[in-house]
């Protein structure tokens, strides 16, 4: 606001009065507000997250929705990565739901207003062990730009289907599958008749049975079918099926529902998919899980569900019904049907026979046909979205959906550092945090198969450890020699069978580089990188046999994939301060610690506060701030408990303190915590609904939302050299917040300053140049790079809205180097400076020279940052240093800087000479046109100058193929640009060229002087004689200053 005073031209007296009034008013008001809350999104200001994918393997997609009339538009709902819209027929997608929960069950467009009205039911519905949870029902009335949460569905957890009456789109049915991990009454079929304002639960069976597919006969919207499913998952088992499951029909708009029995199997049923042929509403297909060979699989009715016949029980139709339960029918041909499955199956004879879809990532969850061309179809898989143009035989992947679902990530200490991590059904990978042209698909390297989990770099050797589910394989990969060895602990004589979690814990030692830990029910330690193992603990779990019956898991369809293995160690943390201190957390709720390298273990579980017994210990972070200090994060979601739990101990687990506040959104259960290495009060919490940050040790938490979706954050690491916070998300790949160090400095004192510059370490002027070859990036995801510029970071107490606010970089003597565009937000602002001053001013010519876009890089040293805000100025300094990896010696660098400056001056000298020449030509032209007596003298002068000008600058042609031969300006500019932008020493060839151009320029200046002395003298004499004014020239300084 203060800027107003300084810029207003209004009456000064009046302004003073108003000023006094405000000051008097504000001062006492301020005195009550000294304590500024250490939370809110303004704390983070301009600090933004960046996404690096990867997208090459994408991630699980739950649902596809095609626009009913516009072939360009389609949507996908990702299992953990939100809602994405394509406006180009599926070539590329953009996210449209980032502010909300990213686990999506169903996306549905209003049939009458498909451009405006979109419904999103959240909570993925293919209920594997690692699914995320939803958070209700949402509606957009502006094509996805903004969303409204529909009250009443907060506890729906998973919404599977939405059916809309196309005659009256205010009439909507929602099929709520509901809670996976517990009983819930928020299930069944819900109906609104007023577009979502009021809802009635029109069909409900019991707390363990939810609604899957709810479909409507578009010709008779009172006819509805609903597939009901009784199901339950625990941390150690899954059960699909029960007496309540079945296919139900209503013929009165949902008022009453009857189980369809006519020929369909009875008794215990599992998951059921049902679909109606768009071209013939009497034809229905249902895939029913019965567990019996004779009745399992595909059924068909050709009379609107009155009678049914069993058609097929092929593997492709019956495999894992909880994971694959979708039938899609060709919009034009009721005999062409596609069934989701391990590979996906297509029938062209009405379901009698099937063949597999073409090669693509396995685990197909949804299929959608193009609305006009049934040769074109889309498949949603565990590995992204695929397109086919030939009826499903050849599949191609959509390359810009970074939906990768990380379980874990880690980082190394390379420059730029690499990120390692394992993905749901997509193996293990490592890739750079920055790469030329951005982080692209080609930058990622595979380092494991199957489901990937923990991937760790050996601390000193170029070796990577990775694993697949249940530690079936743990790989030690020698990167340089490209050799893989399996090194997992194996069963030993006289020892119990090992129980590894699906996501088995691994850890490398901070103290002994070759030391490697793994956890089964025991802690295993190897001091030779996994070749030999020693068990250094007793069974640290509860060893509850009731939770060890995975062979019976699955319900009607047996499903013993290892995903439900339980009573296992889940997290191992070695103290960074003492190699003998190890913390262990188990999936059945135990926290155990040893301080003597595993000789004795202390079970500290009973000391925990506020955490229900047997709650999964998801992560333990051993602190750098004290040997006895650790953080433990507990996740109860697999027992239906979505509370957020994180505790801190400073005495080896004897006592614990809750560090969670009410700021954290309900149901945002946590999986991971990361402490800052310098400020003990700065903590980062990865939750089901995004990232939370505290700067006061957990008293207040703030959600970080700057380019950070509400995605499940499964693992966080803090890269030590860069202070970058690196997150492994389960649905949006790797997300990085560059340099969180300003958050370390936030305190009351800082927040009470009008402007506060955060101190920064000296910046290295990174010397990188090369080629990025961005082929394919038109349709491929490209991850953003870490800025290599200097960052000027400051806090503004108030948003700057009125009056001027400017920022300059100056040398330490106060000479301006460059202007920057400062951020004006309340909170933290970040301004990048790329270490350059201005580009030279070029002589006017017919064409553009690259030299005019090549600024001078500044030398290493200290620089002032001057922020002017109204009348006030605020200053800080920053320090720049040369890159240690420079190709040039310091002496050579100084020579390059000197020559750059010389060439810069030469380019501007030429510019001024051409300007002067041009002004003289204008004067001569004036005489030629208006004073016949002087025409000859003027013409001679003009012609001589023009001949010279044509040798100095290009005067014809264009910037492309009609370009003229380069003249002195262009050749001089090119040499300047080459020297100025080079990171190497000035080459011999450049020095020779410099010599030539200097001589040419000297000759040109001589020619110019000769013209001035000869033709110019005569011309000026004529002017004097006729009392005409000589051309008025700007001074060189003024000319160069003028932008």
């Amino acid at each position: 606001m203060s800027g107003i005073f300084f810029n207003s031209k209004s009456n000064q007296k009046m302004k003073r009065l108003i000023y006094l009034a405000i000051v008097c008013f504000i001062v006492p008001w301020n005195s009550f507000s000294q304590e500024i809350s250490l939370k809110g999104k303004e704390l983070f200001g301009d600090i933004k997250a960046r996404h690096i994918g990867p997208a090459l393997m994408s991630g699980r997609i739950n649902d596809i929705e095609m626009h009913p009339t516009n072939t360009r538009v389609m949507y996908i709902g990702a299992a953990g990565g939100g809602v994405w819209k394509s406006s180009d027929g599926g070539a590329t997608f953009t996210p449209i739901f980032d502010d909300y929960v990213q686990s999506i069950g169903v996306v549905k467009l209003d049939p009458k207003n498909p451009d405006e009205v979109i419904w999103v039911g959240t909570g993925e519905t293919w209920t594997r062990n690692s699914v995320s949870i939803g958070n209700g029902l949402f509606k957009s009335t502006d094509g996805g730009s903004s969303w409204t949460e529909i009250p009443g569905f907060e506890n729906s957890e998973r919404i599977a289907s939405i059916a809309i009456n196309s005659n009256n789109t205010n009439e909507v049915y929602v099929g709520v599958l509901g809670a996976l991990w517990s009983d819930s009454e928020d299930r069944g079929v819900y109906k609104t008749t007023d577009g979502g304002k009021n809802w009635k639960k029109v069909f409900y069976l019991n707390p363990s049975t939810g609604a899957g597919d709810v479909i409507m006969d578009p010709e008779n919207p009172n006819v509805l079918y609903a597939s009901m499913w009784q199901f339950r998952r625990t941390g150690w088992s899954f059960n699909s099926g029960g007496e309540s499951s079945g296919l139900y029909k209503s013929t009165d708009g949902g008022a009453t529902w009857n189980k369809i029995k006519n020929g369909l199997p009875e008794g215990k049923l599992g998951r059921i998919a049902v679909a109606m042929a768009p071209s013939d509403h009497q034809i229905l297909y249902a895939v029913i899980e019965t567990g019996e060979k004779d009745t399992n699989g595909l059924w068909k009715s050709e009379d609107g569900g009155n009678s049914w016949k069993h058609l097929n029980n092929d593997f492709g139709l019956t495999v894992r019904p909880f994971y694959f339960s979708r039938i899609t029918i060709d919009p034009k041909n009721p005999d062409i049907i596609v069934k989701a499955g391990l590979s996906g199956s297509i029938s062209r004879d009405g379901g009698k026979t099937f063949k597999g879809l073409g090669n693509m990532h396995s685990d197909i969850h949804d299929i959608a046909f193009h609305i006009n061309n049934s040769d074109a179809l889309f498949c949603a898989t565990d590995g992204g979205l695929y397109r086919s143009w030939n009826g499903g035989t050849t599949m191609e992947i959509v390359e810009n959906l970074p939906l990768s679902q990380f379980y874990q990530i880690s980082v190394d200490n390379e420059e730029p550092y690499n990120v390692y991590g394992g993905l749901q059904d997509n193996g293990s990978w490592w890739g750079p945090s920055s790469a030329p042209g951005g982080v692209q698909a080609r930058d990622w390297n595979s380092v494991g198969a199957g489901d990937g989990f923990r991937v760790l770099k050996h601390p000193t050797k170029n070796i990577i450890y990775s694993e697949m589910q249940g530690a079936e394989n743990v790989w030690r990969y020698d990167v340089d020699r490209r050799r893989t060895k399996t090194v997992q602990p194996l069963e030993e004589a006289g020892k119990p069978k090992l129980r590894f979690n699906w996501n088995a814990p691994m850890a490398v030692s901070n103290h002994q580089p070759d030391r490697f830990y793994m956890g089964s029910q025991f802690v295993h330690r190897s001091d030779d990188m996994g070749d030999t193992w020693t068990i250094i603990s007793p069974d640290l779990t509860t060893n509850d046999p009731a939770k060890q019956n995975q062979a019976d898991s699955g319900g009607l369809s047996m499903d013993n994939s290892g995903a439900e293995n339980h009573t296992t160690i889940f997290t191992i943390a070695e103290s960074p301060l003492d190699e003998n201190i190890l913390w262990v957390g188990t999936d059945d709720g135990n926290v155990q610690v040893t301080t003597d390298g595993g000789k004795t273990w202390n079970n500290v579980t009973s000391n925990l506060v506020g955490v229900p017994a047997n709650t999964w210990v998801y992560h333990i972070e051993a602190s750098v701030h004290g040997k006895g200090t650790a953080y433990a994060v507990f996740d109860g979601h697999t027992s239906g408990d979505f509370n957020t739990y994180a505790l801190k101990t400073t005495d080896y687990g004897k006592t614990w303190t809750n560090i969670i506040s009410e700021d954290i959104k309900a149901n945002a259960f946590a999986r991971n915590i990361q402490e800052d290495y310098e400020n003990e009060n700065l903590l980062f919490l990865g939750t089901e609904f995004g990232l939370y940050v505290t700067v006061d040790g957990g008293k207040n938490w703030s959600k970080f939302t700057n380019n950070m979706p509400s995605v499940a954050v499964h693992f966080i690491d803090l890269q030590k050299q860069t202070n970058d916070l690196v997150m492994g998300t389960h649905g949006r790949g790797v997300i990085i917040i560059d340099d969180i160090s300003p958050l370390r400095q936030l305190n009351q004192e800082v927040l009470n300053e009008d402007v506060h510059f955060f101190s920064t370490e000296p910046y290295t002027m990174v010397e990188q140049s090369g080629f990025s070859g961005s082929f394919g990036s038109e349709t491929q995801f490209v991850g953003a790079n870490k800025p290599t510029s200097a960052r000027i970071i400051y806090y503004l107490k108030k948003r700057h809205t009125f009056g001027k606010m400017e920022m300059e970089i100056q040398d330490m003597d106060g000479n301006k180097i460059t202007s920057l565009s400062p951020g004006k937000s309340k909170g933290i602002n970040v301004v990048d400076w790329n270490f350059t001053s201005k580009a030279p001013k070029l002589a006017e010519a017919k064409t553009i020279s690259f030299a005019g876009f090549t600024p001078v890089r500044v030398p290493a040293g200290k620089y002032k940052v001057v922020l002017t805000k109204g009348r006030n100025t605020y200053e800080t300094t920053l320090e720049l240093q040369y890159d240690d990896s420079s190709l040039a010696t310091l002496e050579e660098r100084k020579e390059q800087e000197r020559m750059t400056r010389e060439m810069f001056n030469m380019v501007e000298d030429l510019a001024y000479m051409v300007y002067e020449l041009g002004e003289n030509q204008k004067a001569a032209q004036n005489v030629m046109e208006n004073h016949p007596k002087g025409k000859k003298v003027a013409q001679n002068f003009y012609d001589a100058l023009e001949t010279l000008r044509k040798d100095l600058v290009v005067t014809t042609g264009d910037n492309y193929v009609a370009s003229a031969e380069p003249e002195l300006r262009e050749r001089m500019g090119e040499l300047y640009a080459n020297i100025a932008s080079s990171y190497d020493r000035v080459s011999g060839a450049q020095k020779q060229n410099y010599q030539l151009i200097s001589e040419e320029f000297t000759a040109a200046k001589k020619r110019y002087q000769e013209i001035v002395d000869k033709e110019g003298k005569k011309f000026h004499k004529f002017l004097e004689k006729n009392e005409m004014q000589k051309p008025k020239l700007q001074s060189k300084e003024d000319y160069l200053e003028k932008e």
Binding site: T801, F802, M805, S825, Y960, A962
Partner: protein
């Protein structure tokens, strides 16, 4: 006087801020125009000549832009002493220069139609007389952006044509609750290869321009990354303009 009005409003807000909850879109807009010079001063504007720098990352280019209430417009950028005109509109024809040849070329009819139906009506402010332009404004509630509490208004403009198909066209504006000026607007790129990309425009450095207050700093971000930064050096209200300024030059 406008300064006085602004400060009076500020004081009133400080005192009565707690009661100033219910706001309609038109009340917010009325306050905005009142605080930035008064609606009559806004309505008296026929044209504006802005001189400033347009920055794209480390590069910046001096420009002069002339905009008229009848839609005529011309932007001129100084490129190494050459006048480059990226866009201009003479009331009939929209055109711009080809960078390779530096020659004027007419823009495609869809882009021109979209301009005529929308941006040509938007000067000096899209909210001024918005109903007459066929626009709609909707109050969307409150939100904290740029660290401050704001009122959120959705401005629905006339439909755009994108590759032959009509599309909705709207943006959300955030008005600072303290002084009612817009500090941010958001939309998604409606046409072109970047269609769907989130565009944010940040307004600050409001200063006097004739009898109104106008943002002298306008920064555009694409998907959260800074794209273009406009710094206005001077504004001339109702400049005298020659018709020829706007017309497309004939090819040499």
């Amino acid at each position: 006087m406008k300064t006085l009005r602004l400060f009076t409003t500020t004081i009133l807000l400080l005192v009565f801020g707690a009661f100033a909850n219910a706001q309609t879109a038109d009340e917010i807009l009325a306050n905005y125009f009142e605080n930035t010079g008064g609606i009559e001063n806004w309505k008296s504007i026929e044209g504006m000549k802005m001189t400033g720098d347009a920055g794209f990352g480390p590069q910046s280019f001096p420009f002069v832009q002339i905009m008229m209430t009848d839609g005529r417009m011309r932007t001129e950028v100084d490129l190494q002493g050459q006048k480059f005109i990226p866009q201009a509109y003479d009331g009939e024809k929209m055109w711009g220069m080809n960078f390779q040849t530096m020659a004027a070329e007419e823009v495609d009819s869809e882009t021109a139609t979209n301009y005529k139906n929308n941006e040509a009506n938007d000067f000096p402010d899209p909210f001024l007389n918005y109903k007459e332009k066929g626009y709609q404004v909707e109050y969307m509630g409150e939100e904290t952006v740029e660290g401050v509490e704001t009122y959120k208004l959705k401005l629905t403009k006339n439909k755009l044509i994108s590759d032959g198909v009509e599309e909705d066209n709207f943006a959300v504006y955030y008005f600072d609750k303290e002084n009612f000026v817009p500090i941010l607007s958001e939309n998604t790129m409606p046409v072109g290869p970047q269609k769907g990309m989130k565009v944010q425009t940040v307004y600050s450095d409001y200063q006097e321009a004739g009898d109104i207050f106008y943002p002298y700093s306008i920064t555009t971000k694409f998907n959260g990354q800074a794209g273009q930064s406009i710094k206005i050096e001077s504004i001339e209200i109702n400049p005298s303009v020659e018709e020829v300024n706007f017309s497309m030059p004939t090819k040499e």
